[in-house]
Amino acid sequence: MSRTRTISSAKSVELVSTVERAALVLSAFRKSWDFLTLSDVVEDTGLTKPTVFRILTSLVAEGLVFQNEANNTYGLGFLNLRLADVFLSHQSLRQQALPIMQDLFEQLNENVILSVRDGARTYDLDILESTQVIVPSQTCGLAISLHESIAGRALLAAASREDQATYLKHYARKIASLPGGEKKLRQDLRQIEASGYASAAGGILLGGHTIAKIFAHGAAALSVSFPLARFSDELEKRVIELLSDAVQAVESTSEPN
């Protein structure tokens, strides 16, 4: 089962600079789905060219990155799949949710997403991507501040008032820059609390609409995302009904016998 963590403070352990830089280089690959050149990574990380070259060479040797010899670009290696597989293997919530997500996906053919909370952030644990021609682009495992995504807002709305207050204080400057600022966000959270789901356009998904419902005592959200152009009141109503059934089904499978 996923753990709900509150906002935690970093440990004061001396970091390993080469590992820190290697992590920065790997993180550069999160910015797009394209292969990267040495210059792309240099530009993204701010490290020097010789440093990036040595790190990439090490990462290639270890299987975390591969090099396309034909055009001298770099992509992510096979080891990433294995490590993600190990991570997912003990996510019991995902294993419970996946068959139900599949049913939901077959009924809607829109993106179906399982998101979990990790402290002040949320990330998508799994995404079943629509086979339609126009679909929202979403990537698993990207950490997003709770207020920045619709699923994240639903998760925040499910948190205790004390937890919400800590969050709003911590992110006060970022939230102030949103349209309507903190006042609007608080209104949104109350509305989500009252209705039991979040349904809104935008968030981090520009041009998209997301409908999210919380389960697992506020630790996870099941969402459906689709392009704004496909939004209709009928679709919203149908998605809300199907999401409610799906969440109930997941919760019933996770209840102890």
Partner: protein
């Protein structure tokens, strides 16, 4: 094996000198986590990798700053969710053809028979790539060649990848006729063949699409355990001896395992899927 276009290991003579020990240590620690041991105590992990506990802790905490490791407290760690995004992007960067092609070439070199890669598009099987045999009498192949799913070994492997409701839908939509359009195919016999494909992991077709060819196909699985393609060994029917057949089955299954692994598949996913059926 990594696809040939990917440089997995730098040559020991030239590029080894550029490798960084701290990165090798970090990856050694990461490799210490497995499905069987998803969470590890610092002392065990450090001893296994041959690092001091202090350095192992510093390395793990550095990885934790980037969500690659999660600290569970009490000097216990597990992998972090940061790998999900990199795995997701890796899957989008490297497609089925790119992963399969070097394996197909190696398989062709071992068997010296024609190898074909196919995918499903709706109710059709489409060949998307091939590597031809070097023998003077060989099966030729054509990318873009299409058949209904119930015809040929590759089609049947893809048909076997459908769930029950998709299969029912197929049977209501597609007339079960042979490749020449004349002969009828019995649905019960087809279902029995699908059962046999699930059981043994491959399909054999003899003179089904062309009168003088035989073919043997096995499924390719993606990271969710879904059938995402079929790999076929195809050859002149009169060369298909029992001995060659046994060799083809052995080599084909080795190749499909390799491609599926590179697509993120592990056999346990399939066991779980079967459990849900």
């Amino acid at each position: 094996m990594a696809p040939a276009s990917q440089k997995k290991n730098p040559s020991s003579s030239g590029e080894e000198r550029y490798q960084i020990e701290g990165i090798s240590n970090a990856v050694a620690l990461l490799r210490g986590f497995s499905r069987q041991n998803p969470s590890r105590a610092l002392a065990d992990l450090a001893a296994e990798v041959g690092m001091s506990e202090t350095l192992a802790r510093r390395t793990l905490e550095t990885l934790a700053q980037h969500d690659f490791i999660t600290s569970l407290g009490d000097d216990c760690y597990e992998l972090g969710f940061g790998w999900l995004s990199l795995a997701d992007i890796r899957r989008r960067q490297v497609g089925l053809r790119q992963i399969a092609y070097p394996v197909m070439r190696a398989l062709r070199d071992r068997l010296n028979e024609t190898i074909i890669l196919s995918i499903r598009s709706g109710f059709r099987r489409i060949s998307i790539d091939h590597v031809e045999s070097g023998q003077s009498i060989r099966r030729t192949a054509q990318s873009g060649f299409e058949t209904p799913l119930h015809i040929g070994s590759a089609g049947k492997v893809l048909l076997a990848g459908l769930n029950e409701s998709e299969l029912d839908h197929y049977f209501t939509q597609v007339p079960l006729r042979a490749f020449d359009g004349a002969g009828k195919i019995d649905q019960k016999e087809l279902l029995a063949e699908i059962g046999a494909i699930h059981e043994r992991g491959y399909s054999i077709a003899f003179r089904e699409i062309t009168a003088d060819a035989a073919a043997l196909s096995a499924p390719l699985y993606d990271h969710r355990g879904a059938t995402c393609g079929a790999l076929t060994v195809s050859l002149p029917a009169d060369r298909f001896s029992d001995r060659l057949r046994a060799q083809c089955i052995r080599e084909l299954l080795k190749a499909t395992d390799e491609i599926s692994t590179h697509l993120g598949f592990s056999a346990q996913i399939l066991v779980r899927k079967k459990g849900h059926r």
